[in-house]
Symmetry: C2
Subunit: 339 residues, 2 copies
DNA sequence: CTGTTAGCGCGTTCAT
DNA sequence: ATGAACGCGCTAACAG
């Protein structure tokens, strides 16, 4: 079989391109990574040689030599729940545009699994790490601190961030939802949550605030993570077995959709017979179910700011928007029910 | 400030661990990667030294030296749609357990974006690549072929796979749904899809099959990807502006949920006034909305088989379950409506 | 603007 | 069972 010019039995190296282009290997490297340092006509010769040979730079070698991997790791509890999807999308878009790629790790809401993943991932010498949440094992924090790379904790706040934090206060969500609903005159509350740390904090904070206003013993159903439609149905079923709330507050939008489904199958009119409140990002249920109130978080904005903060650091700058290493992106309560 | 024993101003290397353990660097490498080749007492010395120094192996250097990156790349259209989440979860779990990590790439349903990502990702010298779908640019196929690494195309089938394929026939889904619904006596159909290649193929195949049975001019609404609840609402709204179908077939479960929401807001009883059919994986809507029929795909199984196929190849074996490089995981129609 | 030298941190290969 | 020499493919630092 005749070999074509782009056959690649043994992988093409920088030196092969240099030979074809008639320049030194270093010039090829520069033409590819810092084109502003070479004359445009030699750059052209190099690029022609790259195309002719089908050269693909070996970033393992490049990373080893330069101590820059152009890799960012993202650790999430799960991707089953879509709550982080806008964030991840925006983050990856921002990073990709600057030539960075993303290592994904799934922690399953377990800090010990996160610890294992962090150790494995640090072996890749990522240029930065993004963690969902601000609760980690001591070992995780220590390793991350020693790694001396930018770390962004997202979707939460913290008094002592490892490095940078971009998120909002889940306690404040709970408090504001409680006050909002009390102001609307609700008296009998029910809370349904999955067993995820931030969701639980939102719900507990809400329950505490209700207690401060005289509403004690608010019924509270907790289901195993991750949040699914089925968990929402199950949560409402259990709740209605013994209670008769006017409004159900859910730890996430997916859960709220499950509650809506269960309510529908029982012939309940939402919000007349039962009001429902969810929590999620902008692309989710709030704009679809008119009867559903929701706390909305702009997940894409978190991702965008995270990418910007990391890229600023990679460029040796400090993101000016991140005063004190911390940025509160806020949230808003969208009220759709009319009870 | 006094330095503790685990300070890591300059990163700890293999040679540092060797010095502390009183052995040669090579012995440390073996103790870590092939423990069966060293005596257990020297292995212990090494492990103690690793802990004392806080050593984290540099996988860039290791990968360069061994030509094994222990990295697998996954390319998906998006993570907004949860349809792939079970697959990704199962795949990552299987891979992680064997020390592999995952690079994530989002193609946004664009083959040219996929091409760009493939090129960038091949620079990391991944040990394997997983692609959602079997439709790619010529350049993508050529690069992947030349890379000489295991490639798994998932969630679809193909007559000429790049390497391995694990999925099912989307045309067959359409045909079987059509026959199923015809057998149930439906006469007036409506189809709502998002603009995603596989979803469109399912729907077109269904429409063709309906035409073969005399049902021509089936109304067909196509909305921009990704599939969201809102798109589903919009799809039904447009459909009902001019048509009066008995059943709406949707290209995905998320879309179907949007259709359900719109139906509910119009006071339509599902399935009495309007039946709805979705498509998705096992964790989704079918088990929650009793009135919703669904084509169910076991996404977790696809992920599990994909991990197994890759790991078999890494070990130099050929996965026996993958006869001819191709595995059809099938799907099933879950019928919930009672019209 | 371009080339040369040296070495990133590790695993392969061979020797012991 | 352990060690020494070498090179993986690339870029930093310096020289010209």
């Amino acid at each position: 079989m005749p070999a074509t010019s782009t056959d690649q039995v043994e992988s093409v190296r920088l030196i092969d391109v240099a030979r074809v282009a008639g320049v030194a290997p270093m010039t090829v490297s520069r033409a590819l990574n810092r084109p502003e340092l070479v004359r445009s006509d030699t750059a052209k010769k190099v690029l022609d040689a790259v195309r002719a040979t089908g050269y693909v730079p070996n970033m393992l070698a490049g990373g080893l030599a330069s101590s820059k991997s152009r890799l960012v790791a993202i650790l999430l509890p799960t991707i089953a729940n879509s709550i982080f999807s806008d964030t991840v999308q925006a983050l990856m878009d921002g990073l990709n545009a600057s030539g960075y790629q993303t290592l994904l790790g799934l922690t399953g809401y377990s800090t010990s699994q996160e610890e294992t993943l962090v150790e494995a991932i640090l072996g890749r010498r990522p240029d930065g790490i993004v963690l969902a949440g601000t609760s980690h094992t001591e070992a995780t924090v220590e390793r991350l601190t020693k790694a001396k790379i930018p770390v962004v904790e997202i979707w939460d706040l913290s008094d002592k961030p490892i490095d940078m934090v971009i998120g909002f206060s889940h306690e404040q969500v709970g408090v504001e939802v409680a006050r909002h609903l009390l102001a609307k005159g609700y008296d009998r509350f029910g809370v349904v949550s999955v067993d995820d740390p931030r969701g639980l904090r939102r719900c507990r904070s809400l329950i505490d605030e209700l207690a401060d206003h005289g509403k004690t013993s608010v019924p509270f159903e907790v289901l195993p993570a991750p949040a699914t439609l089925r968990a929402g149905r199950e949560g409402l079923s259990r709740m209605l077995a013994t209670e008769c709330p006017q409004i159900i507050v859910c730890s996430s939008d997916t859960l709220a959709q499950g509650v809506l489904a269960e309510a529908a199958s029982r012939g309940l009119n939402v919000p007349r017979d039962l009001a429902v409140m969810g929590f999620g990002d902008l692309s989710s249920a709030a704009h679809v179910y008119p009867a559903l109130s929701t706390v909305e978080v702009d997940g894409a904005s978190i991702g965008k700011h995270t990418a910007a903060a990391l890229l600023a650091r990679f460029a040796g700058r400090r993101d000016t928007a991140l005063a004190g290493g911390r940025m509160d992106t806020g949230f808003s309560i969208i009220d759709r029910e009319s009870a």
